[in-house]
Symmetry: D2
Subunit: 356 residues, 4 copies
């Protein structure tokens, strides 16, 4: 399926970067949920562009316009349709984009798939802008999860080769709250200063950098998920890989677990009072595809922004010749900071869907 997702909640995403609007339909949410619009605005703002020199100067207020499913700020149980109008899309000549394929972008695969009929303006339906309605949906999802005590938070784990520390075994609510209140959340306060330098260096070189995001979900009940095709990992991963530029997803200690011995990788259980805990959490709160009650921890790897001003080799599909391209326009030298809330949102949607 291309545009729809979900078993219990349902998402249908639509719109193009330079069309009238982008939006989402969210089905099957419970009725009677009073939405905290301030929270939603804050999450939208964390993703919105144009807030500093690290992100694209395109100024979009990303104001969510609710069409259906909410009355007096409370969900009615009917599908919620929310739109974000594209107010600040530059009119310009897109004829070059139709024929010269930008490396690292969807341009060429989409050209083949849609026989040249896809909207190429600003990336069309493939634009990272489409994550804005996903953050809106995720913000609602995390409000519903919070009523069950489940809380989600993420930090920038790395930018290029600059590393933040990792989550420890115990992750408390105050830490996640603190992370969610920052525009550039890192566990080590100093880490982001170095990261910022790295991003600035790339920007000055008309280049871009990527990085990793680590996310935690706490207060998950044990026993959620299924063996095989609908394990927690199998349920979360498609949503995480739906985020443009994500190229890797790993759980717990991720790739590092492949270099451990069994006696290290096995998280030993113990009773803390009546509660079952593990001494380490290399499995990220999931064994056999099912939650064990420890925090769900995962990492996503994000590639450097493909839009760079540097001259690049490519092809012209009209003339069928090799050529070069210089991608103009407003780019983020690094989308990792803006992607943090997108990752949290996807996690919230996946978990809410699994809870049924």
């Amino acid at each position: 399926m291309s545009a729809n997702w979900g078993n219990n909640i349902e998402l249908s995403l639509f719109g193009e970067s330079h069309g009238e609007a982008i939006g989402i339909v969210i089905g099957h949410l419970p009725a009677g949920v009073r939405l905290d619009m301030e929270q939603i605005h804050w999450h939208m703002k964390r993703r919105a562009p144009g807030q500093n020199k690290m992100s694209t100067p395109r100024q979009e207020k990303d104001e969510v316009h609710i069409v259906s499913g909410i009355q007096d700020g409370i969900t009615t149980g009917a599908p919620i349709c929310a739109m974000i109008y594209n107010s600040n899309s530059h009119s310009k000549d897109y004829s070059e984009l139709k024929v010269n394929m930008r490396p690292g972008h969807s341009d060429y695969p989409a050209y083949v798939k849609y026989h040249g009929y896809n909207d190429v303006r600003g990336g069309g339906h493939f634009s990272g802008r489409l994550t804005a309605p996903l953050v809106f949906a995720g913000s609602i999802a995390r409000q519903i999860l919070l009523q069950k005590g489940i809380r989600i938070g993420a930090h920038i784990k790395s930018i290029h080769d600059i590393q933040d520390t990792s989550f420890s075994v115990d992750i408390d609510e105050s830490l996640l709250n603190q992370l969610s209140s920052k525009m550039y959340p890192t566990l080590d306060e100093q880490a982001f200063i170095k990261m910022q330098d790295e991003i600035e260096k790339a920007r000055m070189a008309q280049d871009s950098v990527g990085g990793m995001i680590e996310c935690a979900i706490i207060n998950m009940p044990a026993g959620i998920g299924n063996p095989f095709f609908d394990s927690v990992e199998a349920h979360l991963s498609p949503l995480l890989f739906s985020i443009p530029a994500v190229k890797s997803v790993s759980f717990g200690s991720g790739e590092k677990i492949t270099q451990m011995y069994g006696h290290e990788a096995n998280d030993a259980y113990y009773y803390q009072g009546e509660h079952v805990k593990t001494k380490t959490n290399h499995n990220g709160g999931i064994t056999g595809g099912i939650t064990n009650g420890m925090p769900i921890v995962f990492q996503v790897g994000i590639k450097p922004t493909p839009s760079i001003s540097k001259l690049q080799d490519t092809i012209n599909v009209q003339t069928k010749t090799n050529t070069q391209i210089q991608v103009k326009g407003r780019h983020d030298p690094c989308i990792v900071p803006r992607a943090v809330v997108v990752v949290e949102s996807m996690a919230a949607l996946a978990i809410l869907d699994m809870l049924g």
Copy 2:
């Protein structure tokens, strides 16, 4: 969903490690496909246990018994049900497994989810043995893909800290054929010798090791996949994460791409005659969620086998006290070699499903 998967083909997996049989129902395959049973037997053998000291001494012939959907060796178009009888399961006392939770296994999450009613003998439905019917299904899928020229092959990328080299940009059919003909495929012939030592060292220490597998799919047409929720990455990853012990999935250069600059990560296009190619393949044949015609390349990370004979701390869920456990029985000190064909099989099933 727990037991079913697929949009165009359909999988339904069933059975327990020490029950009568394990099996699979495969729906919606085309009629008229003449199956190469020798290929199927070879793929089953690559996964089967008991072939040397690196794997569990449990001797299972893993003979596939076909119940329906095939007549005179040709698919009829009706669902194929295939069973593998459990001939060599040891009868023993499983009462300890009911109460003492093995670390790193599904035991505790399953205990919570199924209220203690799950079959614990040999891991029950969670057993790695359930991958045998998946290899059968995958072997059929790759035969159908081969009719379209699409070929799949994988190698052991690492065991513990011993690394094989990686696929180069061009991957030809003969290389994949060569890899698929080996029980322990590596690109660097010397690498497996060191890996074998590492596995033996772990076995002697009553411990276990994990590793990574790198897989390639060649001759994929460009234009397959969708933006967002059904990207190639989003479609492959749930099947890959359905393989027990897989904790990470990454595409192309995977986590390494997060440390590249944009001008490196962007794979530059060029025409080779009429064919569109890229000079590098850091994106693993997928941009914007859609294939670009280059080989699809991905890695999966597999944790060390959780079953180890070393004494481990854990809990007794009946007495609700802390205790220790020594996991007896026949274990693989490393499941990575046997998992290679499972990874290839899952890739074949996901790709066949996407081709519709």
Copy 3:
């Protein structure tokens, strides 16, 4: 699922009768389809209210506003979002509707399901108005089908106890074109005159009537559909039962076939030149759940409009007492004529989805 439907194409329906707008997201349509907007307007007009005294006097132009997925009148392959703004909804006091449940409507079940949070204005999300975006989607679907030669048309089979004749075994394109060009299509031109009288009689009595619609799909290739869970009947019926007020669906000769003998009900095959035909079509073009190449024929039964001005017994869910209600507002004494194009649209969507 509540709001989404489809395997190959995808529908996501949203909006409320008296909210800002109603709309639909249609995913996975092929790129490059040039839409005939005049056809779409004609189909929308056939469903639109306010065209004569048989239908509700609510004047809605039902103009479709396209938000995404179409550029220069051609599909781009990205999801199409289309909205219909609610221009003519009367502001009034809906407090009675919140507590006094209208018989025959969704009011009481929705009150229980949504704990009283559902939008009750004009029926909210349950309004028959939601069929307008479905007609838009269906109109696109039938244009795509027409490129394959497949054509759909329906007639009013009965209103109350006034019967039209039935389709004969052969149904040609000109007949279906003729039916689709009428606002009140019947096979017997005289039948609708009597039907009109019947509707008028009900209107004058502050009452309402229902009826049946018979629909045909011609030039269907043989071999479409599947045994059991995705038979043509199983695939069409959920969409047909999704039309508000539909209470029965039958194929071929429908309930009449239960009173035939086997030798009558079995449609005998014969070759007409190279073409396989049947002498009768009691099975409606489907045996074993799969098309046989004859016209698919089916009937839907539509109950009388539940909104009537007559005084009716009901309950007040707030005071938990028995009471009476007089449903005010603008009602159709019979929705069958406007439902004809809705039935055709649902058929088009179901068939397009099955063709993959």
Copy 4:
């Protein structure tokens, strides 16, 4: 999808009439359900052939062999695979069936769809025998529903032109129990005697008859179901149309409601103590697609058995000429009595799936 069904529970059906076995995989059932095997045997017996001259003389014990998912008679939460071995299939020459298409059967559509590779022996995967595993699954589903107080029962509403009475508004448990305890359940005890004569008359004439079945589900909570694509009607109907030979499905008063006036068709609510009831139940317990707490009532129409010994006109697809066929073998002159428990089973599965 062809072989799989379900959102919360999951069905995967397999097997051929004259293959080794037929069977089903049932996923996502709750763990810890102790199965009443006597009930299952009784339901299987109600469907089994060979019990008298009204049904095919093929003697099949239809013994269910459980492969997985049940331990000590209790569900484990893992998928249940159940098989029924085909013990009494006659070996004979099926070469005529390969080329001469039986009218009213799947033969010709399947020939086209599967390019002649489908198993034609005894109807292969299309055989009515495939309903046996569905009755097994349904029998488990109704045991789970019974724990919630929900009870299902059906009666033969008509055979050819002989009618039974219909359910009244109130349907109590004892009536449904009584119906379920009979092999030939009718409300009017005399009705079946006449029906039996009608069946016998058809049998003597080498012909067959069909009929209707009316089914009720009582003690359903109000508020189950959804508007539009997953209404109760939309959810039940695909399963009912999956039963071979079913050509119509209607709810409440079905097609009769199309001849009522609005003031008759609207079921008036009233409080009976604290309970909400309706005075009539023409809507069959469902309005707006959602249950209102009254019994769900529906009818299915079943065509006469297509296998008749009479000589019939047909085609030979090999020679591409018109020919005649006389269907030999063991046939039911009427499958309606055996279909009653199949209808109840499908209802149980659909309702259990909706309850989530």
